[in-house]
Every structure is written in C-alpha cells, then in structure tokens.
C-alpha cells in the first residue's frame, strides 16, 4: 500500500488509460473470440450448469419436462415454417424462370438453452449452452420459435454469448425486407426505441406507403444471416426529414424477457459462400 500512496496519481492515470483501452477493444468490430475469453466463459458456464443442475431437476419434476418444452417450442415455430414454405414457393417459381440461381433458404438450426442472463440487466445479453463444438460461430443469427432475437457475439467451446438485436453493438448490417402486399421494401435495422419498444428500420426507399401489420423478414443481403427469418411486424411508418426515405417502427415477434429454448441459425456453408 506504501507504493500506492506514493504513486497514486500515476496509478490513477494508468488505470483510466487501461479502462479506455479495454472499452475500445470490446466495442471494436472483431469477429473472433480469444482463447482466454473462451476459457473463462466456458469455465463459468460449466460451473453455473453444475450449480443450476439440481434446480433444473426440481423444475422438471413440477414443471413441463425438457421434451415437452422442446415440442412446445417446435409448435411455436410453425409461423416461421409457414413463412419459409411461402417463400420457398415464391423462390421456386423464380427458379423455374432462371435455373442457375442457388437457394438462400438452406439453413439448419441448432437447439440451445439459455443458461444465464446478464445480471447487470443493461444490455439484456445472455449465455447459451452450445458452442463451437456444436458448430456455432460468431455472427450467427439467434431466434426464438417466434422470430429473430439476437446475434452470437462470442462463441466459446461449449457455451456462447448472445447479444440481443435491441443492443446497440449487435445491430450492425442487419438488412431486412418488408412484405407490403406483393411489394417488397428493403431497409436496415437502425436502432431500438426504448420508449415504444420497437426496432426502427431505416433507409427504406420511399416508393409507396407501407401498411401497418406488414411482416418484416431478414433479407439475406448483408452479413451471414440467411433470408426469411421473421423479425416482426410494422407498427407505424414515418418519412425522414427530406422525404426521400422512410423509417418503419417494427414490433418484434419475440419477447426478449421470456427466453428459454432458442435456435441458432447455422447457414449452409455453400450458400453462405455464395452470398459473399
């Protein structure tokens, strides 16, 4: 402590610089997880699984079993499947016209369970019990049975850290399409409006009024997200200040506060390569 009292000023300045550097590192656009992060993440996740184990057993005795929950989750996924069928039909028609186009809808899902939510409750991020061993990697889309909810931010060996799309750092490059009757409008998720609890989709070309209730899907145009994942539905729209483009407020289909079973969308590597 003698050392500290003598060099207090230097230590404070050094600590502040270190904090700024660490914040800078963590908010930078990196697409990998370091080995140290993997190790710490996995060891805390596995100890949490061990501590939470007995509680889960008690929960499964009184509540629905794991299998029942999975079945329920699959049943909830029906709207997504119906949407996929509709889109596949449309795509099939287009493919008949142009035979050499590959499908963008090829993806498989990995079932995962939420093992912990962020205790500081600022960013609403959470940890799931599957990692790189199960084929998960950074940047993959995460959905509930009802629709898109987040992005895998860091993938450890047997656990992963997921950020909700309502978080600022998770929303980069999520391109969406709005199905307004027969017409499609393209835009990108700009931010999350905490007052109205809606996602704001911006940069939509102003060519016609978007109806309320129009469904919003991922477009598959940017990032490695596949096409056709339900995001939500349009609540209202407004023109930007120049009137050239419009913004749409989109209510998410998924409830961010009630998460248990989730699905990580693993896009078929072949089609992912085609997208690049």
């Amino acid at each position: 402590m003698n050392f500290f009292s003598k060099n207090r000023m230097i230590l404070i300045i050094f600590s502040v610089i270190l904090l700024i550097l660490m914040i800078g590192f963590s908010v930078s656009d990196r697409t990998y997880t370091t080995k140290a992060e993997m190790f710490v993440g996995d060891s805390v996740a596995s100890s949490q699984k061990a501590i939470g184990g007995p509680f889960n057993v008690i929960g499964s005795i009184f509540g629905p079993s794991k299998k029942e929950k999975e079945l329920e989750a699959k049943l909830d996924m029906l709207p997504q499947l119906e949407a996929d069928v509709k889109r596949l039909e449309e795509e099939n028609n287009k493919l008949k016209e142009a035979l050499d186009v590959s499908s963008k809808l090829d993806y498989e899902t990995i079932n995962a369970r939420v093992i912990s939510r962020s205790p500081d409750q600022w960013l609403n991020s959470f940890t799931i019990d599957k990692g790189t061993k199960d084929g998960i990697s950074e940047g993959m889309a995460v959905t509930t049975p009802k629709g898109l909810i987040g992005v895998v931010k860091r993938a450890n060996g047997s656990s992963s850290f997921v950020e909700l799309i309502t978080t600022d750092s998770a929303k980069k490059n999520i391109s969406v399409e709005i199905h307004n009757g027969d017409k499609k409008h393209y835009g990108t998720i700009e931010n999350y409006d905490e007052d109205t609890n809606t996602l704001v989709v911006g940069n939509i070309v102003n060519d016609g009024k978007i109806k309320e209730g129009s469904k919003v899907y991922t477009s598959g145009l940017t990032s490695i997200f596949p096409e056709g994942i339900i995001v939500g539905e349009v609540v209202d729209t407004e023109n930007d200040s120049y009137g050239l483009s419009q913004n749409a407020n989109v209510k998410m289909e998924s409830d961010t506060n009630d998460l248990d079973m989730i699905f990580v969308i693993k896009q078929d590597p072949k089609t992912a390569e085609d997208d690049k």
Binding site: S15, V40, A45, S118
Partner: protein, 173 residues
Amino acid sequence: MRSILLFITFFIMMFIDFSFANFSPFTLFGIEVYFVPKLVFMMLLLVSIYFGLSYGMFFSIVFGILLDIYIGTVYGIHLFGFVAFIIFMHTAFRVFYRDQVGLFFVVIVNTFLFDFFIYGIYKLINFTNLPVFDYIALRGIPSLLLNALLYIPLLFIVLVLRKIRKNVFVKQL
C-alpha cells in the same frame, strides 16, 4: 481454508446475482422496474473491511475479470469499478464504518454509486439512452431497496466466514 470458503461464497453470490435476471424486470402498472442485486460487489466491500484491503483487492481483480469476460459486452467496467470503488471507500468513508449502522450506509451508498458509474459509462458510449431521472426511479431506488434487504444476510455470512481460522489445516497437523 478461509480463502477457499471465501472464494466459494463469492461464486455462490455471483450465481444469485445471475439468477435474479430471470425474474427482473418486474412490470408494475405497465412500467418495467428493475431490481438488480449487487451481492458480489457488496461482499467485496465487506471483505475489504473485515478481512483487509489486500483480500478485497485480490477478489476484486479475480471477479472483475470473470464478470467482464462472462457477461460483459464492454470490458474493464467491473474490473476497474470494483478496484476503484474499494479504494474510494477506504479513502473517503474511513470514518463512517466504525459502527454497524455507519457501515450499512457506506456499503449501500457505494453500491448505488457503483451502479450509477456503470450507467454513466454506458450512457457515455451510447449503449443506453435512459434519462437520469428514469434510471434513478426505475432502477436505482428499487435496486437500492433490494440490496438493503440482502445486506443483512450477507453481513452475517461474512462475519461467520471471518471466524473461520486462516490456518485450520496447519493446526490440525
């Protein structure tokens, strides 16, 4: 022995903090109210008083890094915050923790300030746009009340741990 038990207790407190995220936020009259426990932080403060500053520093660094990596989107907040607040408490509030009531207020006020510090950083880097008044009313005060309730059993645990002899294994030999 004491250090091992302290470590295990810290881990358990961390998981109690985690488990609260499953209940909170509560929707009261259509408004979301957050109750955020800060058991790890409060225990760090108590350990630094009852076991010594070096113990507090050691556990601050270990659990600061653990929390930053496991739950943090922004690194450094917990690590820096834990260490800075322990030093801050020992410098600014030294006079107040002579008696139990004084200690209670020191810990609770510091817990509130620590959460406010995290809010400040998130606000600074534009991760939240919650107005200050909303933060205090919907998160700061409810969390303060929850932490005041949790303080009493926590103090009891720390006092019990303090009674455990440091060198229990050596004595047995």
